[in-house]
Assembly symmetry: C2
Homo-oligomer: 282 residues x 2
């Protein structure tokens, strides 16, 4: 496994493999790798001939009061996981390498990014789309892998790729959960034992939402209300939002659709967690 | 010479040539081709093994009160010029192909784009950077050619490429002028004979600015003042700006530098013209 810190080195290596007829897979991460990330690498390994993972904690996607400074960082450990997952090349740039002092360009979406997460984390998605655009231009993949856990993010990246014509395909991989249902997240390690217990309400509420979607009398709205009640009713858990919306547009659904997505963001203690589930209506 | 309207067709053709070891040159145009455009194609032909020209009048870079609807269009004529210049592939997309109804992504620069042209044509450069980003992603060139005539534009494109890591080089080609000095522009054809005569003040003023730069007592500011006077003093010519600024940042220069750029935008009759010249100070 090769490890490179320079964009130009990554570009050259990948270019030679692409022109050798290899399919290039890209797995962008912020490190602090867990089984969820590894599942993205596994998928890339299955589909592609050459797998690039990136480890970069992108300051641009953190708000001023967010956890950039304490975001977990474990490079040695992460590299071992990449190696074990069969990654061919890991890109580990320095921040100064990614953002020149005079940088002033951003990739910005004006619709999808303004909803839900975007409302609660202003500027967050502008940071995401900008860094992902850079990674696409550096690694020039055929496929790029994102987790369904960040549901809105993968929608936004898909829209960006379509709008701006990158010649690549986005693959969204299923949420990976702990045995008790908590969605894998690098931020789970912040949870105290009591908060860890409380956090289970997110998965339980989503599972309940799926049950409700099977009931003919329930609408997206009525399910969303029950989601909100379940979460608000849990001591120490404070929801930012809990909605049931269109899978593509994230807009409200006036009637019972075939499917919808239930999206939750909540603070559990000091830790902000997100989770989601595609609901199938009967 | 191949002509393609579909992004996917362009991407596939170029990809096969790139992987065959060919250097790809891109010349983005809005059509209405003149000798200035042909000089870009000539430069690309000299440097590259496979030359792609694009002809697309980009609605996104026109303001609501600008000349999008009457922008000259002459596809047959343009294709002949491309063929004569030795272009290998011309990309002629439809607007609906370039901008899906639900497109919402833009590439935006927050500094350079807000000055001079950007102040007088709000949103113009956001349209330029967005379409050029798309063209870079579709044609994936090694080199891309822009004219110095649009001085601020080529600076912005260079900044964008550097900030967002496209693996390509921007080549800026010299301004091509009519025999009497008027910079070639697709918009020159709007000029009435009287306005055509008046428009010569732009080149004359820039030439005078270069003379002044050779005079030890003149500063960028004093030269700019004389530029403004020369242009304002011409009946029927109404300057938007006439400045002498740093070649890279477009910021004012407090002292005599080694070089600077003089930039002019002016309305001549109903037609808005721009021109510029690099000034060398002695």
């Amino acid at each position: 496994m090769q490890v490179e810190a320079l964009p130009s080195a990554v570009r050259d290596v990948v270019q030679s493999h692409r022109c050798g007829g290899k399919r290039i897979g890209l797995v962008p991460t912020m490190g602090a790798l867990h089984v969820g990330h590894v599942s993205l690498m596994d998928a890339a390994r299955r589909d592609c001939d050459f797998v690039v993972a990136t480890i970069f904690v992108n300051p641009l996607q953190f708000g001023p009061n967010e956890d950039f400074d304490r975001y977990p960082c474990s490079l040695e450990h992460d590299l071992q996981k990449c190696e074990a997952a069969g990654v061919d090349l890991v890109f580990t740039p320095e921040t100064s390498q990614m953002y020149a002092a005079d940088a002033e360009s951003e990739v910005r979406l004006t619709g999808l990014t303004r909803k839900l997460e975007g409302r609660h984390r202003p500027g967050h998605f502008d940071g995401v789309t900008t860094v992902v655009a850079k990674l696409f231009n550096i690694a020039v993949p055929d496929l790029a892998y994102f987790g369904q856990k960040d549901y809105q993010q993968q929608l936004i990246i898909r829209q960006m790729v379509s709008d701006l014509d990158w010649g690549l395909e986005i693959v969204t991989c299923p949420i990976v959960r702990e045995d008790d249902g908590l969605a894998m997240s690098s931020r789970n390690r912040y949870l105290s034992p009591a908060d860890r217990e409380r956090s289970l309400i997110l998965f339980r509420a989503l599972s309940r939402a799926q049950e409700l979607a099977q009931t003919a009398s329930e609408t997206p709205d009525s399910i969303a209300q029950q989601l909100q009640q379940l979460i608000s009713g849990t001591d120490g858990v404070d929801p930012d939002y809990a909605v049931v919306v269109d899978c593509e547009t994230l807009e409200p659904l006036p009637q019972r659709p075939e499917r919808a997505v239930a999206l939750i963001a909540a603070r559990v203690g000091k830790t902000r967690l997100i989770d989601n589930q595609i609901l199938r209506f009967r």
